[in-house]
Amino acid sequence: MNVAVILSLLLAFSPITFGAEAQLPESIYSPQFRDPGEVDSSVGPLMIDKTPVTNQEFLAFIKASPEYSRSKIAPLFADSGYLTHWAGDTKFSKSESHFPVTHVSWFVARKFCAAQGKRLPTIAEWEVASDAQNPASDAKILAWYSKPNARLRNVGARPANKFGVMDMHGLVWEWVDNFSESIMSGDSRGGSSTESLYCAGAALKAKDPKLYATFMRFAFRSSLTAKYTSANLGFRCVRDMNGDSK
């Protein structure tokens, strides 16, 4: 076993990783898709979870709030796929303890974060923290988006990005608080827009029509509704520096 493998194992099982936060400094978010009048905005500073929420972390929440367990959840808050990868209300394969939790709806992800005194990140915060709209990252991310689901693995096993955040890509999609504002139309041939939806010319509204991975992320978000769950959709939380959650 070589040093890199040992190191990554240490990292993977290190208790420091889970629940740890990284600081996202105040940054400018320049949207890939803009509606008329939309301008760059400022995000942060805030604390963001270094890794997506794991099955084990989610279990602690379910134990504290049994109304969100699989058998008790109201159909309004999650579709029938909710936590289907678990063996029961509080059971899952031990080997998946540190896998990101998936098959969770937006409603419950939001509740989870609130229970920690946190909240879901906004699109702007997530996009900045992921460093995704940088063309160099975009190409790498695209390769992952292009493949059907690979098997999940422990969170925190890959190097952190420039903000010290891990697994923003290459593991699971993540809920964002205002996912429904990614108004890419169902017929998403262009950018996001409420006008000229049915024409590829709308791609002209995109900051960079070559950011294919970004198109896909926005298309994915806009295909969701708040009670949806999916085998490859998880989440992480953020915390405002003054301690308030919105």
């Binding site: 689901n149 169902g186 041939r189 994915f220 999916s230």
Partner: protein, 486 residues
């Protein structure tokens, strides 16, 4: 600047206006099959229900025997799958129903279709479907936009008969289509299509892989190549050899064949051709009218289709190609229709003569490249020999092989006073060309001789040659003399 239409264009515009075939001045006068169906007041809920049965390509679903409309349920699942693109080359296809192209749908003009798109839970991406046969927002793309692990249903009335492409329309659209998300839907006209012995389903599409054509292993999508529209693969039915070898289409001599041809693109237009046969009928662009007969090659636009019908008269292997031939030869756009049966020499004999061919004058020397690169001649014989070659290659076409020229056009070199009078002038003309009137042997020639771009060595050789041929007799021209003249 005041802009007015030039007179002839104005006339054309006016003429077009006057000669329109239909009076479309009011909505009531608009004649179209779609309008008739749209207004027929059929009770959708009382239509008999049926479920459409999917068959994999290159099979086409069977003709519709119903004489009245029905309510048809079509269910398709989107799956992201790894399959073989070529020998030793795999690709992650995004598919309708697990195949490229997706299964062909077949409904009847006037049918009401309940279309359900399921996005498999193991897929990573949202998908949808735009059926070009659908009159409605996005061709159904909006109504079918579906996250992984979910399904959507929308309904539409098949208003226009014809053969239509369907494809995924989720951003980035070109990538979804370029990964294999396309197929055809046939809306049969009310009266049906003429009966044929075989129907096949063939769709062209191109693939933009990171690796070059034939590079082994699992290949991924290359966005830059896609944007430049330079695919590594152009194939029929999703893979090199998908309808060739033991997967060829088949028929027997004397049978009739209809091919539903589509082009998923995403970028290229197909010049669809079957080598060794001629299409008896073509429904150009997939419209409902068999509007052309006896066609060699038919254009199938990206995102378009055509129906071709041919009676295969004699046995043989008919090759289906995109006649943009590098696609067929180097990128995989080849399929095969194997026709068995008895040969018919009244139509085609095959080779009947095989003999050696000895053309007359075969001994005429070719000007080989190594003569050009041979060491520069230094003696008179060498100059004469090299000069003859330069003359025949560059001069004889005008001044003629015998140096006689052509009266009133090209002056003679044979016994030419103009040529022999001034050696330096001759060098200058051969090097730089000549324009304007000159007098040769008492006759005036007013023509142009271009600068020929000969090397100084060749100029020395050719002038030595012409000054000592065709009855001329003069000094050789040396390389130094040529070099001195600018």
């Amino acid at each position: 600047m005041k802009k007015t239409l030039p007179f002839p264009i104005a006339i054309i515009v006016m003429t077009l206006g006057l000669t329109s075939c239909f009076d479309r001045s009011t909505p009531e006068k608009w004649e179209s099959t779609s309008a008739k169906i749209a207004d027929d007041n059929v009770d959708i809920n009382s239509l008999p229900k049926e479920t459409f049965k999917l068959v994999p390509p290159p099979q086409a679903p069977p003709p519709i025997t119903r004489k009245t409309p029905a309510r048809v349920a079509i269910d398709v699942e989107v799956r992201e799958v790894i399959k073989q693109l070529s020998d030793g080359v795999d690709y992650t296809y995004w598919t309708f129903g697990g195949t490229v192209p997706g299964p062909m749908f077949r409904v009847r003009e006037g049918d009401y279709v309940d279309f359900t798109l399921a996005n498999h839970p193991s897929n990573k991406l949202p998908h949808n479907i735009d059926l070009h046969a659908v009159t409605g927002q996005g061709g159904g793309a909006e109504g079918s936009f579906t996250a992984p692990g979910h399904k959507s249903t929308f309904s539409f009335r098949a208003l226009n008969p014809g053969l239509f492409v369907y494809h995924c329309a989720t951003a980035p659209v070109g990538m979804h289509v370029g990964n294999g998300m396309y197929g055809l839907i046939l809306v049969e006209p009310k009266e049906g299509l003429p009966k044929v012995d075989h129907e096949y389903y063939v769709v062209q599409g191109e693939f933009y892989t990171k690796g070059k054509f034939g590079e082994r292993g699992l290949q991924s999508f290359d966005m830059e190549k896609a944007i430049r529209e330079q695919p590594e693969y152009v194939v029929f039915n999703g893979a090199v050899g998908a309808i060739a070898g033991d997967k060829s289409l088949t028929a027997s001599a004397g049978q009739t064949v209809r091919i539903f041809v589509g082009n998923g693109g995403p970028g290229l237009i197909s010049s669809f051709h079957v080598i060794g046969e001629i299409f008896d009928h073509v429904y150009q662009e997939g419209g409902s009218l068999p509007n052309q007969k006896n066609v060699q090659t038919t254009i199938v636009p990206a995102g378009g289709a055509a129906m071709v019908e041919l009676k295969v008269d004699i046995p043989g292997n008919l090759i289906l190609v995109d006649h943009s031939l590098f696609r067929a030869f180097n990128k995989g756009a080849i399929g095969m229709l194997k026709v068995d049966g008895k040969p018919n020499p009244r139509i085609y004999t095959g080779k009947t003569v095989d003999a050696i061919y000895l053309p007359e004058g075969q001994a005429i020397q070719a000007i080989s490249m190594d003569q050009k690169s041979a060491p520069a001649p230094t003696n008179f014989e060498g100059r004469m020999k090299a000069g003859a070659i330069v003359y025949n290659t560059n001069c004889a076409a005008c001044h003629q092989p015998n140096g006689q020229g052509i009266p009133d056009a090209f002056p003679p070199l044979a016994k030419s006073d103009f040529l022999m009078a001034d050696k330096n002038r001759s060098i200058k003309i051969v090097k730089n060309g000549l324009e304007g009137a000159i007098t040769v042997n008492g006759k005036t020639y007013s023509s142009v001789m271009p600068s020929l771009g000969l090397s100084d060595d060749d100029v020395a050789s050719v002038l030595t040659y012409v000054r000592n041929s065709f009855g001329n007799k003069g000094e050789a021209v040396t390389l130094d003399e040529v070099k001195r003249i600018k």
